[in-house]
């Protein structure tokens, strides 16, 4: 059942690259280059919309799930307050022993469809594969 979900769009969301949030991230980091960094590291696609429902949709229990990796590639930095269309997709899912590993792609586009940034976030649900097998 789970492999058939590969490629499934988990969420689409329209938001903005809020200048206020860039300023918040800049203040949190507190370095000389934080303002530049905030223009590429402003979002975490998995929590876009401000919740973890994309993990829950895959049956991954938050307090049993670890983040294993993260990747971002960008064509350009976000402009302050520009509109962004976010598409979150299940890129891959596999079972390794008792654990389930899911890779989530988050694509950030301008309203005209031009890609700005893409993220791949890897999560490990401890015991997730064993649980699926037991409930099958």
């Amino acid at each position: 059942m789970i492999p058939e979900r590969k490629g499934t769009v988990l969420k689409t969301h329209r938001t903005r690259a809020y200048a206020s949030r860039m300023a918040d991230l800049e203040a949190t980091l507190g370095t000389a280059t934080a303002a530049e960094t905030a223009r590429v590291a402003l979002f975490f696609g998995v929590t876009i919309g401000r919740d973890f429902d994309v993990l829950e949709k895959m049956g991954m229990v938050l307090d049993e799930t670890l983040m294993g990796g993260h990747e971002i590639t960008w064509t350009r930095p976000f402009e302050p307050d520009e509109e962004v269309v976010v598409t979150v997709t299940l890129a891959d899912v596999l079972d390794k022993g008792k654990n389930r590993i899911a890779v989530i792609e988050s694509r950030f586009d301008a309203p005209d469809g031009q890609e700005i940034q893409r993220q791949y976030s890897t999560f490990v649900h401890l015991g997730g594969a064993a649980r699926e097998e037991a409930s099958a």
Partner: protein, 112 residues
């Protein structure tokens, strides 16, 4: 890619909360000590993307944002509050974040 070794700004619980508010990550493991202890953790832990962002920021400081187009990393251990971490990068763009005992992240920069 420039080689470097730099000290990351020290992130405490307050920074975890602020970062979580910025990106919408409200997992209580980042701010609720009782919740963290239920998971057998001694303290709250940093968001993986925050450690990732610290490493990326160090790379941008050395190379400039225009010189980069991506960063890929494995999160290898949870980081606890107030950990003094060092970020290193070799000429091939291989990045590591460590406190000398534990490696929290290893990754690779993509040049533009």
């Amino acid at each position: 890619m420039k080689t470097f070794s730099s000290n990351a700004p020290v992130m405490g619980k307050e920074q975890f909360v602020r970062y979580g508010a910025t990106v919408g990550d409200f997992n209580p493991v980042h701010y609720d000590l009782d919740f963290a202890k239920q998971l057998n953790l001694p303290a709250v832990i940093s968001q993986g993307p925050l450690t990732f962002t610290l490493a990326l920021d160090a790379a941008i400081a050395e190379n400039g944002l225009d010189a980069l187009s991506g960063f890929k990393a494995r999160i290898t251990a949870p980081a606890f509050p107030d950990t003094a971490m060092t970020i290193t990068c070799d000429a091939d763009g291989k990045v590591a974040v460590s406190d000398g005992k534990t490696t929290y992240l290893d990754g690779e920069l993509t040049p533009r």
